[in-house]
Amino acid sequence: MRISTGTIRLVIPAASLALLLAAVFYMQPRAMSYTGLNLLFNLAVPIALATVAQMLIMAVNDLDLSMGAFVSFCACVTATFLQASPAIGVLIFLGAIAAYAVIGVVIHVRELPSIVVTLGMSFVWGGLAVLMLPSPGGEAPGWARWLMTSRPPFVPMAIVASIVIALVTHFVIMRSSVGVLIRGVGGNVRSVERAGWSVIRIRAGTYALAGFFAVLSGIALVGLTTSADANIALRYTLLSIAGVILGGGEFVGGKVSPIGAVIGALTLTLAGSFLSFMRIPPDWQIGAQGAILIVVLGLRLLLNRLEKREKSR
């Protein structure tokens, strides 16, 4: 039986997630229930969406350091405009997605480093969020709240949503021709250009798509937390990058995996729950999260080595 490299790329993140889940179940058997799983993965949906957005940007060899600020901005819009007057809220979101496309174009045309431009944009999004909600507040739109807290039979919402996100993005990025072009820009810009495609349009489209997923992330986050503040999702910048890498993605070369990215986001969420089960003193919570990250990545290296040995045999 032949296994594609894409599948092998997925085995490692999936194995780390399974291992971490097994450890949680071993320590707290009661987590092995509908409610338990729901609690464990509750916050995974917005993180998974933000990770997918970051993955799109990384697929064209860029990096978005404004992800956290942008998701916070979207959360603030959701809790204020989208709740009070949906039409204006949708217009703001369309504007924000257009702004993302413009950023993509500017980065491409002027050959600017994406890190710096998005760094600058993180201030802009942060400032807009502060203008909208100077202090924590707002209210979640009823439908977002309903969607995020609904209880489908057998499988908790968080897991259903994660699977849907993974499948939809897998189809868009790995199976559609648009996805091939996006990854092509990351892999070899020149060959895409020579084949007659407009790289500038592809990049604008990729950024817009990333902006769209980040908007969804903000809406999902407010659906869970019921209110927003300007700093609500700042840690998503680093979480989303870590999630993509954990899921087997790479910084350059257009090598990304949507299913892997979602698994990476789930792993990071679970790591947080795992630590609270371990009763680690609060001082060391953050440090333990770092340690888990290191252990999982070490595991990845180990499995990579094994896989190579198998191949050379």
């Binding site: 002027r110 890190i115 760094l119 400032g127 502060v130 203008l131 100077p134 440090g287 333990a288 770092g290």
Partner: protein, 315 residues
């Protein structure tokens, strides 16, 4: 004409031009009353950004993907640990500094061990490391605020002939960094690695050794900065490094160092650090609210990059 063209071909000129423009606008608003105070404050606060920026610059020069995200955590731990150790005693100042430097050494080695042994991309490796360092800092600090020794506090807050001492320290470190970068084989090596790691390895450059030294250098500079900043602000705080994560990257890139690596620029870091501080103080002077201040800071950063990056488009 030739001189002007030579001047404008330097990538760092833009950050200085922007700095002077912002300085003039701010001083005009206050009617010239604050020009000395503003300049001194700018030099002091820019000095801290310069010190961490220098370390980050060496790392960024190594090539795409090389960035040290553990800078803020290192600053915090170094400041906390040093002040705790010195315990307000003047005799311990040197010991505190040495411990800070040693700590930076350890963190730098730790960072590179993760990058090399686990083959983790530097961004993730230094991020994981920074979580662990941050926890250690929380554990050491325990919410206590220990004052710096008297002499050290005076040294970090006073001026020599009108120039803040901190700025002089940063200048000395910059000169050392410049010599290291331009006049030594090590500087040539990091530029070579940044331009093409593969080619550098083929020509026999000790790539791993050079990268290890660079990560150590960055962590040591962050430690020194944390030590000075904690002494300057009268005690260490757990969030004292947080704003330096973005600042350290921004000053390097605005200063004209290539993000793709292999080309670095020390004068630009000074221009960019002064610029970043002056923008914020200008917006403060004009009485903007927090939201507008953030938006304008972001737009100004992007504008500077757009103007400075324009030269590349004409290649």
């Amino acid at each position: 004409m030739n001189g002007a063209r030579l001047l404008f071909s330097k990538p760092w000129i833009w950050s200085f031009a922007a700095t002077i423009a912002v300085w003039i606008v701010t001083v005009l608003f206050t009617g010239g009353a604050s020009s000395l105070g503003l300049s001194q404050a700018a030099l002091t606060f820019a000095a801290f950004s310069v010190i961490v920026g220098l370390g980050q610059m060496f790392v960024i020069t190594l090539g795409p993907g090389n960035i040290d995200l553990s800078v803020p955590a290192t600053m915090t731990l170094s400041g906390t640990l040093a002040l705790k150790l010195m315990d307000v005693e003047d005799g311990m100042i040197v010991v505190g500094l040495l411990v800070s430097i040693l700590l930076g050494f350890g963190i730098g080695i730790g960072n590179y061990v993760l990058i090399k042994l686990l083959r983790i991309p530097p961004i993730i490796a230094t991020l994981s490391m920074s979580f662990i360092i941050q926890s250690t800092a929380i554990w050491t600090n325990r919410g206590l605020r220990i004052k710096p020794p008297e002499i050290l506090a005076i040294f970090t807050t006073s001026n020599l002939f009108g120039v803040p001492n901190i700025a002089i320290v940063a200048l000395i470190l910059s000169v050392i960094a410049w010599v290291l970068l331009e006049k030594t084989i090590y500087g040539r090596w990091i530029s070579a690695i940044g331009q093409s790691t593969f080619a550098a390895r083929m020509t026999g450059i000790p790539v791993d050794g050079t990268r290890l030294v660079t990560y150590i250098l960055c962590a040591v500079l962050a430690s020194i900065c944390g030590y000075l900043l904690a002494s300057f602000s009268g005690g260490a705080a757990l969030n004292m490094g947080s704003e330096y994560l973005l600042t350290s990257i921004a000053v390097v890139v605005i200063g004209g160092t290539a993000v793709a690596g292999g080309n670095s620029n020390i004068p630009g870091i000074w221009g960019a650090s002064l610029f970043m501080f002056l923008v914020v103080s200008m917006l403060n002077t004009y009485g903007f609210g927090a939201g507008f201040r953030l938006i304008l800071t972001g737009l100004i950063i992007i504008a500077v990059i757009l103007i400075a990056g324009g030269r590349q488009a004409n290649r």
